[in-house]
Structures are given as C-alpha cells and as structure tokens.
Amino acid sequence: MQGNKFGRPVLGAFAALAAVGAACWAYQLACGLAVTGMSNANSWGLYICAFMLFVGLSAGGLIVASSAHVFGVERFKAVAKPAVICSTACICVAGMLVLVDLGGVARVWRMLTGPNFASPLLWDMVVITAYLAINVLDLVWMQRGDEGRVRRLSYVALPVAVLVHSVTAWIFGLQIARAWYTAVMAPIFVASALDSGLALLLLALLLLDRAGISRLDPGLMASLAKLLAAFVAVDAFLIACEVLTMAYPGAGEAVALSEMLSGATAPFFWAEVVGGLLVPFAVLAAAGNRERCGAVALASALVVLGVACKRAWLLLTSFVHPNVYGGPGVSSGTLAAQQDPAAMWALLGSYAPTPVEVLVVVGVVSVGALVFMVLSNKLVAGGAAPAASAAGADGSGGAGRSSGADSSAGAVAAAPASE
C-alpha cells in the first residue's frame, strides 16, 4: 500500500478531460462568449459560480494547515501537506475560471498596467495571487521541513485565507445594483469556504487514504468531521440571517427572495438547504457517523454540492429581475438575437450553461485534479523524505493524543520507514 501513487491511467484520463476543456476554450476564444449561455440580462454564469465555489474550496486546506500552527492544533499537522496541495489546486482552478470568463483575455495585462484600485476584482486578483504564493511557499517550506517558516507563514496565511473569501464576496456584496448587496455576504463566503473547503479536504484525505497514498487517521477524521458539522451550522445560521433580512421588510428584495424560494433558482436554494446543510449536519451530528468513512464522505460530498448549489442561487437570482422592468425588456446580445431581431429581448434574465461551458469547467477542474494528484504523487506519496517524516512525526503525535484510535494510526508514520 505504501508508496502508492495516482497511476498513469487516472492522470491520463484527467489530462484528456483537460485537453477537451482546452479545446472548448479555444472554440470559445474563436467565437466569443456567445457560445456560453450568458447574455446581457444574465451576464455571469457557470464560470463565475464555479469560481466562487473553488475559491471557497481552497480555503479548507490552508485553514486547517495554518490552524495547526496558529491555534496549535497539532493533530492537523498530520494532514497539513495534502491540505495545502488541495488548497493550491483549488485556487489554481479558481484563477483559471476567472480567465476563461473574460471576453478579452488578450487584454488582461491591462489589469497590471492600468489597475483601478477601487475595483473588487482587482483586489481579488491581488489576494488570489498572494494566496497562491502563500500556498506554494507553504508547500516548499513544508517540503524542506522548515517548520519555523511554515509556522510564521501560517500567521499570514490564515488572515489572507479569510481575506480571499471576503474579497470574492465583495465582488458581489458591494454591488448596490443587485440583491447581493448585503454585509453578510463576506461572512457567508467565509462560512461556505470553511464548510465546503473542509468537506473537500476530508474527501481528498479519504481519497488519498483509499488510493493508499497517505493514511487518514479515523480520529482525525472524526474531529475534522465534527468541525465540519460546526461550520455547516454556522453557514446555515448566516444564510438564515440573510433570508430573514430579505424577507422581513417585504420590500424590494422580496422579488429576489420569491425567485429563490419558489422561482427559477428555488431548486438550487432548497437543494442546498436540505441536501447541503440539514442532511449533512444530521449525519455528522451523530458521533458514530463521524468515524465512518462512508458517512463522512457522503456528508462531505453533500456539503460541497450544497455549496455549489448556493453559488448558483446566490449568483443567478440577482440576474432574474431587471431593476427597471418592462416590455420589450433587455436587449440580450446573444447569437440568437444577432440573427433574429424579434428574438433579441429578454424580459427576465435566464441562464443555462451550454455544453461548451460545461466542458470548459470540466477541463479546468481536471487541471486542478491533475495538480492535486501530481503534487500528491510528488510530495505525499514517496515524496521527499524529510517532509514525509515531518508529517509522519506529527501524524503519530496526533494519533497518540487521539485515544481509541485504531491500530492503523501508525500507518502514516510507518510509510517513510518502509521506504
């Protein structure tokens, strides 16, 4: 089992998906964003939903890893490296998703030569870059076993992680034009990042465990799962705050709310509330479940999917009703509109991703998966000995404190020894 790696077939499959995605992106570059389902009425879609999701997903890893140092949660150190790898892969995905969403990617250098510092998108570019840099540094220093630097970096990494999610939230939350305009947007994003990021980390760790690359200590799993339950609860609480604030006055935002509760985006909203919050919380609330890999995996997957749904309703609800409503509507600017002037109007915003868009996202996510697998192969499985032993040492320490851990707790520590 030890020394296992993600094999070539798996890597090849994802590389193929990435290639398909790249081809679709090339097609999109050739034909314009008109090949997506977006329009003037609904001007952001799957790319931005996925962007929000992956910025959030990247949180779990870095927060868990940094917490190990900042809050001295020694147990977490065991999974610090896979956590940061996971985080790195996700933030790369997020960055790529912003790029594929650009209509004029060839002019993106303008952000560097003529930045407008008032733009949340610029802030986001800065913090995402910083975040990526921190992840990479963290990995490098971990790999070198430079514990001191890793610790010091953690004190920077944690606030930057919080900032990444806040700034991403502010891309939306500062727009007075839309129902996104709410102070709770940043806390919601942080909470969603915490639960979905942790959920993804659990899934990643379970995967590494399954793949025999690195062992996941059930005790650790249980405690991470417990933490996840707490995060889910916080997330649910913040959403409840937002919904109540929208609903109570029965005024302007009631339109968006009704769309969320019973309209176009309702399936996403209720899928999240039930499938992404209630069910996983119920699963994880039972202590026994937290020690069952299957239950934890199920809950984690549900949390990730739930947050994905949240991105959809959060983003798209605001595009449904133009603030100034009236026939014939908004000129949509789509390919169909170009071809038939009678079909150029959209009374309400509507959106469905096209196959091209879906494949581009699949491709980008595949690149992320490749990043994760390759780095895991290199740095976790049979990676450089010092890092592994450091992780091993920490891991065994963690296992030691986790009473009642099963006998395979030493497996992580044993891995380097067997090499």
Partner: protein, 205 residues
C-alpha cells in the same frame, strides 16, 4: 466643470423607438443589442399596459446609460476602461476593456451591452458616424452620450431625432441651461434614486 445631462419628459414619450434606432444608426450598434431602448414600465410587452382592463396605466421609459455622477460601473472596472470624463460623461476605453463584465453586474439599469460574439451588422457594413470607434468582440459598450457629436457641440442623436421633442440635452453645471432649469423647477424622477448612483439623465413628466 461640465456635467452633460439629458432630461426626458416621459409625458411626451410615445414609444416610437426613434431614439433607439437613431442611436443604433449613429453609433454603429451591432445587431442583437441596443444602447438605447424604450420600455413600457411594468408591462410584459411592447404596447402592453399595467393593471387590468379597463383600469390601466402606461408609462414609457426611454432607458440608456444614466451617466451617473456616482457611477457604480466605473468603480468596479479593474482596468479603468470605464471612466467618468471631464464633461461628466461615463465613457468606455474599448482598448482597456478585458470583458470581465463587472460593470454590467454593477449597473443597476441594465444599460450596458456586451459583444458576446463577433459583432454582426445588418446591413453588413459600418453605418452611422465614421468618427465612432468600431468595437471588437469581447468588449462592453453603451451610450456614450454621443461623445463624437457632443464633443463637437452637437446634441446627441436621440435628442436631435426625437419626434415629440421629449428630450432636452445640456450642461447641469450651467445654471442657465434648460436641463438645469428643468432639474430645479420640475418634479424630477431619478431612476432607482435609492441606489445613490445620482444619474445625470433624469425624467420629468
């Protein structure tokens, strides 16, 4: 300073769409989009009305960039492609636009249109004013307050062509201008005033 503005008398608007086509023509606006449109407020179709027969009302609302004093679109633009110029107009430097559509999300008026595809024109050549830049695929566009005309001292095409003379163009910083007088003396409607964007396009009736 100069703060160019348009006052629109909605009581004089008959929804003839002349301003829409005049703008489309002048500015070489491609197929499938308009910089300037007229909506029947609250109704679901052209010729529609609000209420139920025979208790009906109808307001036509010509709608384009509001050239806000506090433009939400300008703030969010990461490259400064959208800017407020020295004449108080909100303009776009097409060369700087990276097509991120932050501004589109930020504009409360759905005033902006995006070149999702390679722009197509029918007829298939560049019509209108030759001074107007041709926008490529992947950039945002919108009402420029007929920059090329107003720079030359002409009124915007929608103002020049409105058959009912519902539109008045002028400088809000000139207290003697007709727009300033209307703003002072008339009961003025500011679209989505609660958003605090402080439009320089305003409505009287």
């Amino acid at each position: 300073m100069t703060k160019l503005a348009i006052a629109i008398n909605t009581a004089r608007c008959i929804d003839c769409m002349t301003c829409s086509n005049a703008c489309k023509m002048q500015n070489n606006v491609p197929s499938g989009m308009l910089w300037n449109r007229v909506i029947t407020e609250g109704a679901d179709s052209v010729n529609g009305a609000v209420g139920s027969y025979p208790n009906l009302t109808r307001t036509f609302l010509p709608l384009a960039c509001q050239h806000c004093e506090n433009p939400a679109c300008e703030k969010v633009c990461p490259t400064g492609a959208t800017y407020k110029d020295d004449k108080g107009r909100v303009e776009i430097d097409y060369d700087k636009c990276i097509g991120c559509r932050m501004c589109m999300a930020a504009c409360p008026y759905n005033a902006r249109v995006f070149n999702w595809a390679e722009p197509v024109r029918d007829p298939d050549f560049n019509y209108g004013d030759p001074r107007v830049p041709v926008r490529p695929r992947g950039v945002m566009e919108k009402c420029t307050l007929c920059k090329e005309r107003t720079d030359d001292g002409d009124v915007p095409m929608c103002v020049a062509c409105c058959p009912t003379k519902a539109r008045v163009f002028g400088d809000l910083d000139d207290p003697g201008s007709e727009v300033s007088r209307l703003r002072r003396e008339k009961s003025v409607r500011i679209l989505l005033e609660d958003k605090g964007t402080r439009p320089q396009v305003f409505y009287v009736s």
